[in-house]
């Protein structure tokens, strides 16, 4: 059984199929099904320190309409390769993912 730790996953930079960094793992969502917690998707964020600490809330409150929009990607579980937990990689391109979601 290959084990991965959530607390080490978060904040890890994720590379896309071409090896470019597209964000850091911010959240892992799981569904409670039949007594199991099954991971459904990963939420990747732009990864700035302010973002990661979600201090964006203060910035939004102060800047109102002019606050920058945080960039987030939601990636389904089968699109993230965790065979090397320190270097998570996407298995599909973002375009493919967007098409699937549509």
């Amino acid at each position: 059984m290959a084990e991965v730790r959530l607390e080490h996953l978060i904040g890890r930079r994720v590379l896309d199929t071409r090896g470019r960094a597209i964000g850091r793992i911010e959240e892992v969502r799981a569904e409670r099904r039949g007594g199991e917690w099954i991971v459904q998707e990963y939420v990747l964020g732009a990864g700035g320190l302010v973002e990661r600490l979600a201090a964006g809330a203060i910035v939004t409150s102060l800047l109102g309409r002019w606050a920058p929009e945080p960039e987030r990607h939601t990636v389904p579980w089968d699109a993230l390769d965790l065979s090397d937990p320190e270097r998570p990689r996407l298995t599909k391109t973002l375009t493919e993912l967007r098409h699937r979601a549509a």
């Binding site: 607390e7 600490l53 201090a55 809330a57 203060i58 939004t60 409150s61 102060l62």
Partner: protein, 407 residues
């Protein structure tokens, strides 16, 4: 518990926090020095700090009421272990120094009363604080400290009897530039901010509110409590400043607590000296109790240990050992012979310097609907608190080295 009784207890919590919190070594020392050296010109800093404190205390109570979390508990949960360690260490170190300053001041009060050197009193004072925490229930501590703490009203009586010019005092409430020696003026200004905005105060307040199981409908009463409680404390500090302004020659550098001791005799005659000693000793003793608890709360809440003011030590062993160790550490700093006034001044400036670390994560929490529901902070509170905290930190970073070098 009927809601009226509950409300009254809330007010009590606020007023007690103000006794044990607001007037303590830091605010006494900074107010005396400010009054002696600059008259009423620094009153506006006290006013600014107090308004900011009222806002922070109200926020602390609101967080507890809406989320049933304490500040430290919520910080660990929201930011994760790593990022939580920053505010924990910052507030922790600064609070231990402040605790040492309080213990030192109580020892000085005892030195003034008995003539026996303050270092000899470190262990007895530490034991007295520890025994109350170990054996006493918090109710007993709260009542005891509030009643005894009423002796600090002597400063208000003295301030009134000295007939300060009302117009002059009022002018001091308006922000002004330094009349002379700018770096000293701003150092005292930042020390006043640091003494007023000590983080342990609002961290402690949220712990009490969670233990008393505040709910959403307690939020309005909480606003009232914060204002009255802290306003009362600020009046005491202002009174100290005013008395110092009248009694000391303008520009006089007060170098130790003994030099402050006779400040009430002009107004209150031979009662002045014992009243000062009692006020100093009791106020700082109350603060020592609170800071020890606040430190232990922060660590216990951050790591998920059992905590509580009324639990038996055996049922919250790590929590009890934490405040014990904090007290021992503080006592060591006093035994070693560090000058209590100097220690107080440095602790207050460091409090100011660490404010962003203590307050910004707290502010983030206050804007998170997951914790505050529909009562997140408004834009004005955010901007105001951020402004004051940034000001305090910048001033501290600039002026602390100047003061340490200047001696």
């Amino acid at each position: 518990m009927s809601s009226v009784v509950k409300k009254l207890l809330h007010v009590a919590l606020g007023v007690v926090t103000s006794f044990g919190g607001f007037l303590e070594a830091g605010s006494i020392a900074t107010s005396v020095q400010a009054g002696a050296e600059y008259g009423y010109s620094l009153l506006w800093v006290l006013l600014l700090g107090t308004i900011c404190l009222v806002v922070l205390i109200e926020m602390s109570g609101r967080l507890a009421a809406m989320s049933h979390h304490t500040i430290a508990g919520a910080m660990r949960e929201r930011f994760g272990l790593r990022f939580f360690l920053f505010p924990l260490l910052g507030v922790g170190v600064v609070s231990v120094l402040t605790l040492a300053a309080e213990v030192g001041a109580v020892c000085m009060a005892l030195q003034l009363a008995t003539g026996i050197g303050f270092q000899w009193w470190a262990v007895p004072v530490m034991l007295a604080v520890w025994l109350l925490l170990w054996w006493g229930t918090f109710g007993m501590i709260e009542d005891g400290v509030s009643i005894l703490g009423l002796v600090t009203v002597a400063f208000v009586v003295a301030a009134v009897k000295l007939h300060p010019g009302v117009a002059d005092v009022a002018r001091g409430l308006v922000p002004s530039a330094a009349p002379y020696d700018g770096s000293r003026y701003w150092f005292l200004a930042v020390s006043i901010l640091g003494a007023t905005l000590t983080p342990y105060l609002f961290y402690f307040y949220s712990s009490g509110a969670v233990e008393d199981r505040w709910e959403a409908d307690d939020v309005p009463a909480n606003r009232f409590v914060a204002t009255i409680g802290m306003g009362f404390g600020a009046t005491l500090a202002a009174a100290v400043l005013i008395v110092a302004a009248v009694v000391f020659t303008r520009g006089a550098r007060v170098e130790s607590f003994d030099q402050m001791a006779p400040m009430l005799t002009d107004a209150l005659g031979p009662w002045g000296f014992p009243l000062f000693v009692a006020a100093l000793g009791i106020a700082c003793f109350g603060a020592a109790l609170e800071i020890s608890l606040a430190l232990a709360y922060m660590i216990a809440q951050g790591f998920g240990w059992n905590w509580g003011k009324d639990v038996r030590p055996r049922d919250a062993a790590r929590f009890s050992v934490t405040y014990t160790l904090a007290l021992v550490l503080a006592a060591c700093l006093v035994i070693v012979g560090l000058d209590p006034l100097r220690l107080t001044n440095v602790a207050m400036a460091l409090n100011a310097a660490c404010l962003p670390l203590a307050v910004v994560p707290f502010l983030v929490l206050m804007n998170d609907p997951e914790y505050l529901g529909d009562r997140t902070n408004g834009r004005v509170s955010n901007a105001f608190v951020l402004g004051v905290v940034t000001l305090a930190c910048v001033l501290a970073v600039v002026s602390l080295p100047l003061d340490l070098l200047g001696g």
